[in-house]
């Protein structure tokens, strides 16, 4: 019940005119970001981050997280009306959403998508409300060895559980960790890898890299494709909303299953993309009428949208409680925390109650308001796509540059952003995943610091990572996950069966 009281306090923080206004602005901007080609959740949040530099942290996080909710809602609009997934996590929504629009049921499909998004995030927010404080207070007992073990677990699970080629994940992660180390070493104060350059002294800022990797490279990739689109206009009437909502109880199993999948994959570094596919595939597998999937079945919209939203929201749980982001966007919000002068980690729950509970309360309110906004303004946002890309592309470039410059007031960062844009473009095309890179870049220094602090505490004895049950089991789990493909392969061979492909795979 303590969580409930704190949540009420959060609503008190939230319910001021200024915060509510910022919330609305954030949601509308977020929906734009989700609808526009060449902009997605992570880079949308990264580009708009500078707007928040002069705000107090609570207003800032409310606005940024609302941009994120908006982007999650917006992705569904283009998937259903135009068969163009605005975001990777809405690919699975096109499977049944677009056929529904073709059959003249666009309004139903959109209502289903928005409603299930809402349900998915509501489940995840409930989880955060009641689980995060517990995890944070448990983590308060963590010392440097425990923190290092948790970081190690995060990195190892990326390598072991990721579906990309292992060497590509390792390249991406090692490069990120290496770049994170550039500049002044925080433990000894020594300079490293700066090659005498004053610009590199500051180190490579994580947000600059993200803006380049996701913003600039995404525009380059978008230009490669055919930008023509044909789609349906849709207007959602109250009657349609009511008819979809009336049928909701029939699909409670699908909704619940997808929410659970989403929450799980959001907390572990599986991400919203895997969650949406897995939600869709499982709904199909358990359905009595498998063949009707892909031909405009409303369940085929419910399942992936619920999972994607649940996962996107649940990704904030480890970020809030442990300071470890569960997704790219969560990583950027974490970068934001540092810019606003907050120290991510379990202490947030003790030292910045207003901030944490304001954020959690904004998740509830933001999703309700977001649902109302998207339901009532779909035609407006669909019309945004009529604006030619030749006008949108340069504006995105300018916004990226503004974002990159504002972080440290450095012209060098604009060039760095351009460089990362090219790197991101090449990496995406040759299949090197960018998520491990961003994670490594944002966590690299913290991981190294905690390792070296544990070493100072233990006088250089590596056994400190197995010194008690807690840290020992996390470290062991990390190593098991790192070698998970080998272990799973070994088990499969023992039973004489080939290893099964992961269920998250699109079929």
């Amino acid at each position: 019940m303590e969580a409930f009281g704190l949540l009420l306090h959060g609503f008190q923080v939230l319910l001021t005119f200024k915060t509510l206004l910022l919330m609305l602005v954030g949601l509308v901007l977020g929906i734009f970001v989700g609808v526009l080609p060449g902009l997605g959740g992570p880079n949308g949040v990264a580009i708009l981050l500078p707007l928040t530099f002069t705000m107090d942290p609570t207003s800032a996080i409310v606005m940024l997280s609302c941009i994120y909710w908006g982007a999650l809602f917006g992705g569904a609009i283009t998937s259903i009306l135009f068969n163009i997934p605005g975001e990777a996590w809405s690919v699975a929504t096109t499977f049944d959403g677009y056929p529904m629009a073709q059959q003249g049921h666009a309004a139903e499909a959109l209502t289903a998508a928005f409603t299930s998004s809402f349900i998915g995030s509501l489940v995840a927010v409930l989880l955060i409300t009641f689980l995060a404080p517990g995890i944070a207070s448990f983590a308060l007992r963590f010392g440097p060895p425990e923190f290092f073990a948790v970081y190690l677990l995060t990195f190892c699970s990326f390598v072991g559980l990721g579906r990309e080629d292992k060497h590509k994940t390792i390249i991406s992660m090692a490069l990120g960790l290496l770049l994170a180390g550039i500049g002044m070493d925080t433990v000894s104060g020594q300079l490293r890898m700066t090659f005498g350059s004053n610009e590199l002294l500051r180190g490579i800022n994580f947000l600059v890299a993200v803006i380049g990797l996701f913003g600039i490279s995404e525009i380059l990739l978008t230009m490669e494709e055919r930008l023509a689109l044909r789609g349906h206009a849709a207007k959602i009437s109250l009657r349609v909303v009511w008819s979809v909502w009336k049928d909701l109880p029939k699909y409670w199993v699908t909704l619940l299953r997808s929410s659970a999948i989403g929450c799980w994959l959001g907390i572990t570094p599986g991400g919203a993309i895997a969650a949406s596919f897995m939600g869709y595939n499982l709904a199909k597998r358990f359905s009595k009428d498998k063949d009707s999937f892909g031909k405009g079945r409303i369940e085929g919209v419910f399942a992936p949208e619920t999972a994607a939203h649940a996962s996107g929201t649940a990704a904030l749980l480890p970020m809030l409680a442990l300071g470890i982001p569960g997704s790219g966007t969560a990583a950027i919000l974490l970068g934001g925390l540092m810019v606003w002068g907050l120290n991510p980690g379990p202490l947030l729950f003790v030292e910045h109650k207003d901030f944490v509970w304001g954020l959690i309360a904004s998740m509830y309110l933001g999703n309700i308001v977001g649902l109302v906004i998207v339901l009532s303004t779909v035609p407006l946002f669909a019309a945004v796509l009529r604006v030619p890309f030749a006008a949108i592309a340069p504006m995105i470039v300018v916004s990226c540059a503004v974002g990159a410059y504002a972080i440290q007031n450095a012209m060098f960062d604009i060039w760095l952003m351009l460089g990362f844009g090219v790197v991101g473009y090449v990496f995406k095309k040759i299949g090197i995943p960018l998520a491990p890179f961003t994670l490594a870049l944002v966590l690299g220094n913290r991981a190294e610091d905690s390792f070296r602090l544990s070493m100072i505490g233990a006088e250089g004895d590596m056994r400190v990572f197995w010194s008690n049950g807690l840290v020992g089991s996390i470290t062991t789990l990390a190593i098991v996950l790192l070698f998970w493909p080998l272990i799973a392969g070994g088990f499969a061979r023992l039973r004489g069966k080939p290893a099964k492909p992961a269920i998250g795979e699109p079929e």
Partner: protein, 180 residues
């Protein structure tokens, strides 16, 4: 049920043709990237070796972690290089076709120029030139529309960042005339 006529149609007359010849293959780019990463990791390893990669009495020195990360990066790149090298099956996969490259350069070159102009003339001038120029020359949108859109956009950015949110951008001689 019949497919209702699409209500929103946007065309892309300069779209890359699907039969445009490939400029280079994914395998080649993969190999080149791995070699570049290998060279980068060697450079980093050397610099960290200078910084000190041994253990002091209180744990690793500043270069210890980055040194071994460079080694891991180098090893993974080397593996990636040979994997692509031996993977003859995917040799035909296109990395970028000439039409696609043309379109990518259409964005990349203006972006590069934009960064250059930002350095000399300030961000807002560069922003105005980029948006107007891009809309006019790449998008073939009418002059007055391009200039007007660009002016409104730049002004909106200026008001939002400089005036409303106090986020200062690099300025050049033209902004100085206005006393900013």
């Amino acid at each position: 049920m019949a497919d209702p006529e699409p209500e929103i149609v946007v065309d892309d007359p300069t779209a890359p043709a699907s039969d445009s010849p490939a400029v280079t293959g994914t395998r080649t780019v993969g190999m080149v990237t791995c070699l570049l990463l290998l060279a980068f990791s060697a450079l980093m390893a050397w610099d960290n070796w200078r910084t000190g990669i041994t253990w002091a009495f209180d744990g690793p020195k500043a270069g210890y972690f980055p040194f071994y990360l460079s080694v891991i990066l180098g090893a993974a790149s080397l593996y990636g290089f040979f994997k692509s090298f031996l993977d003859k099956a995917s040799a035909g996969d296109s990395f970028v076709t000439s039409d696609q490259l043309r379109r990518v350069l259409q964005v990349f070159i203006p972006t590069f120029l934009f960064c250059l102009i930002t350095q000399w003339l300030g961000l807002y001038v560069a922003s105005f030139l980029l948006v107007a120029g891009f809309m006019r020359y790449i998008g073939r949108i009418a002059w007055w529309k391009s200039l007007l859109t660009s002016f409104i956009f730049t002004l909106a950015m200026f008001v939002t960042f400089e005036l409303a949110f106090d986020v200062l951008m690099p300025k050049g001689p033209i902004e100085a005339l206005f006393g900013r």
